[in-house]
Subunit: 475 residues, 2 copies
């Protein structure tokens, strides 16, 4: 965590109380507010704009994979949820149930979707008659509901927004490959759009999705060393195909079940952004998803055409595709500097009467706090800086993270290592060892790690290792 | 309705059975499918792409009005809905109710939003402390639920997608002006993006939104002469401000209630597109919102570099911002022509070996069925054609519509006029006359019409007229 002294008074010192720092930041920067129903959140314009940028970035990547957006009903007949045994077991405890509608008691209860495998597979079974109809690759942006006991804005809320991709293929190989491809898409997106380095890999049986054959996860380390599951991709095999009769006539003239996948990321990603990049002053947003990339603050406004020049500059930047705004509010420049720093805007440009005389602008970076003068209206300098901030944030995060990944050969080292970081350790693969680590270190396996485990023994039980794995405390 | 003979066999003749033609078109063009729960719909990729284009067009216009997107929780505490007396009376009969969540009975039932005035006003009251915080102008894209007895895809479904704008101002004048401004935004959007001419104006007391002081509506005439309410904008006065304690400290140091508005359009607009422009062959989509603007069909594929040229052309068009695709499927050219005509793609380009020899491409318009040759790869010719189709569709619709608006001086003429068209008539403004027209002609007042009513008498009761109004049967 950053050692810098706390700057904005209203925000709790992140070194003293990280969870409270998080709450302060999300509320005071107006990313989010609490809804009237327990565990719900209102995503305010500044937060929603981040989500829209995430959507734009992901939609472009999905399209390149041949995935098309669609929309499926939110209400799932209770009987649908029950068709896949593991699935219902996993989700039944946390669903919201509609029992009445239109003034009458319903004949069958409706589940508000916690995820849409059941309803989408029900439709896929209608749409796939022949091998020619495959693959089907669909994505949906929507709200989902999971009734949680303990909630926190963005991280865990009763209702949240997400995207859920659903595909069906003729063969296991293709479907398994899709699950991995989409994990790769998420990884590239996390690194290049969110500037967050991630560990990706297969999840343990204990941690996998209810109804999946295999779940692949993307884990991001937060500044406090805890892990945030930032995205998952599931290979569902024929589990849902069999439950929903997803059959097709193959080239050989026989009816076969398809193989499906699903993969999703949610508004949790906004929580990841905050906790991966923030500092004592508040948010630090990577340019690719920042709602405002450049804030222009006129100094000694109303003097010497400052406002006009500021507006002109904003238009020039906007024409170059940069999200730029001028802060014309009646407030001191110092107050505005603090406010926009707290809001994490990547670049601040100051223009005063003297700058106009000298044909220059003063540019301050949010990430490094570097300040430099440039020729007034030098758009390419701004573009270069934004690019540099984006890559600098990723590198800085990667360095911070890698310093906090420790190797463990035994339980003691695991316990020590998960206190403020991730642990990489050899593991036998059995549930008992996972439960043991949970019990003594409040940590769980996150994803399998790459690297040789041959000749090594499980750090928990000492039996021969079957994999390397990351252990961490998780949000 | 078009007199052309029915072309695609699978689609019902629109002159024989317009409702069935509509259903055939939406299902067979894969815009939509029926969900497993009664009255719900699945918006398939081809339909959802239209919705995404509508979103892009509206977001641009909203942004120009200073409106920002946000997201509010879907669950409304039952007590919230009850705070505005008229509002609850209007919506209570058609809401879906969550009574259980997380395995327990809830202490207070939750309403799945039928519209979000109550929850949004609840948040506004928290965010508006001073006149400096006003106006607040927010829009939300989301799903809403209204439990309807009779449903039809896009037109009336238990769950649908929409946008709902919500604003609050310090004065009545500003709020009233906002309601009218947004009606104007909708009108311009309907005409220029959807190519649908609309009548806009104030709604009667009977037809207004539950909780509004005044509702303004946008009515579009479908090909069968019936009206489709395509958008509404409400001036809510202080009704919700008082119910939700939306107070602010004004410049004069006193606490005052704000004045609010709300305005929305929904996936109904897709229904409007179909029924305003369709023909015997299926959809006819205006280029601005068409998912595919240009479909390229290679003729005698695999010969003489046809596929390569087709791909090259698609890329060239895409680089110019045109949504173009090549149909590489294994099927006859004739089959593809029918399919894409049914799907309403504005332009079809055919390229065969001889076209390549002659450096030309054959271009067919969906709206007029005109066909012409152009130089192969002439992007600006394609752009011009798309523009021409867009304006031609609006003019054609306007002409068709205006022919079907008849003046009525008495009830008999109203009855005759609403059979396949709109009626413009002087009206006394009273509810009894509206009910009478409903009873004898199954028609309702749609919006007030412009024009002089002085010296005229109500076409229903003969008393002095207080306005001109449009009567029509409505979807």
């Amino acid at each position: 965590m950053a050692k810098e002294k706390q700057f904005v008074k209203e925000i709790t010192d992140m070194n003293e109380d990280f969870p409270r720092w998080f709450t302060d930041v999300v509320i005071k920067t107006e990313l989010v507010d609490y809804g009237p129903v327990k565990g719900t959140m209102v995503i305010r314009p500044y937060g929603y704009a981040i989500w829209e940028n995430i959507q734009t970035e992901l939609n472009r990547r999905f399209k390149a994979q041949g995935v098309k957006n669609a929309y499926f009903p939110m209400f799932i007949p209770e009987s649908f949820l029950k068709k896949e045994a593991e699935h219902v077991e996993g989700f039944a405890p946390e669903v919201a149930v509609v029992t009445h509608a239109g003034g009458e008691k319903l004949q069958e209860n409706l589940i508000v979707r916690p995820t849409s495998e059941t309803i989408i597979c029900g439709m896929f079974s209608k749409w796939m008659q022949s091998y020619r109809d495959l693959p089907i690759k669909i994505n949906q942006w929507c709200n989902v509901v999971r009734w949680e006991k303990t909630t926190r804005p963005f991280l865990r809320t009763s209702e949240f927004l997400w995207q859920e991709g659903h595909t069906v293929y003729a063969t296991a190989e293709e479907a398994e490959k899709d699950a991995q491809t989409m994990l790769g898409v998420y990884r590239e997106f996390a690194e290049n759009a969110l500037a967050i380095p991630v560990f990706t890999g297969r999840k343990s049986e204990k941690e996998k999705f209810a109804g999946a054959v295999a779940t692949y996860g993307m884990e991001a380390m937060m500044l406090d060393g805890k892990s945030l599951q930032a995205g998952t991709s599931h290979y569902l095999g024929q589990n849902f195909a069999k439950a929903f009769d997803m059959k097709f006539l193959d080239k050989d003239g026989t009816l076969k079940y398809g193989y499906s996948t699903s993969w999703g990321v949610s508004t949790r990603l906004i929580g990841a952004l905050i906790m991966a990049h923030g500092d004592q002053r508040g948010l630090v947003l990577p340019p690719v998803v920042a709602p405002v990339q450049v804030i222009i603050v006129p100094i000694a406004s109303h003097k010497g055409g400052v406002d006009e020049k500021a507006k002109e500059l904003a238009e020039k930047l906007a024409n170059a595709g940069i999200r730029a705004e001028v802060d014309f509010r009646e407030a001191s420049a110092g107050w505005k500097f603090n406010e926009w720093e707290m809001k994490g805007v990547p670049l601040r440009i100051e223009i005063g009467p003297r700058d106009i005389e000298n044909n220059q602008m003063f540019v301050a970076r949010r990430d490094t706090h570097e300040k430099n003068s440039f020729t007034l209206g030098d758009v390419s300098a701004v573009q270069e800086l934004l690019k540099d901030i984006q890559s600098n944030m990723l590198e800085k995060s990667r360095k911070l993270r890698d310093e906090k990944v420790r190797w463990a050969d035994n339980l003691e080292e695991i316990v020590k290592g998960v206190d403020g970081g991730f642990v990489k350790a050899p593991w036998c693969g059995c549930r008992e060892c996972e439960d043991k680590v949970k019990e003594v270190a409040s940590a769980s396996t996150r994803v399998m790690a790459e690297g040789s485990y041959e000749g090594k023994v499980c750090a928990v039980c000492g039996k021969p290792a079957k994999t390397l794995v990351y252990f961490a405390r998780a949000y």
